[in-house]
Symmetry: C2
Subunit: 84 residues, 2 copies
């Protein structure tokens, strides 16, 4: 079966996000008011061949932990859907 995993990888809340802060500061320069905070992370889409959902989940978590996410600075959340 084919699964699609949509992963969001964001900097921990406790950490400064200089990229986000810079974008937030510049909102006024492009005439946008009312943006109180910006945080920028990564969005990763995986297409996975796996036997079942449990095995697909395992692969997603392994991929996050081994290659995609720096756990010291980032946390991740994901959704998994099967593609017929």
């Amino acid at each position: 079966m084919k699964f699609i995993a949509e992963i969001d990888i964001m900097p921990h809340k406790e950490l400064l996000d200089p990229q986000g802060k810079t974008v937030a500061k510049n909102m006024k320069n492009v005439d946008i008011e009312g943006v109180a905070d910006v945080r920028i992370g990564k969005h990763v889409m995986l297409t996975i061949d796996a036997e079942d959902e449990a095995s697909a989940k395992e692969k997603v978590e392994a991929a996050c932990e081994r290659i995609l996410v720096n756990a010291i600075m980032e946390k991740y959340t994901y959704t998994l859907s099967s593609e017929e």
Copy 2:
């Protein structure tokens, strides 16, 4: 009212995503099999002060078009939720 916008910014389907391709190729090196494709984009979280949902939406779309998204190479989707 306070709104949280969760924005996904991804490279267009038609475009190569060299960062994603590199990660996909390396999945085998960290003992993960079955990952057919990887695409990498950005995830942006905006905290917005706005009078109502329509005005918050307007701000999100303005922010995407004016500063966050390069429409030539990327497309965006977002969800908006109000924070009580």
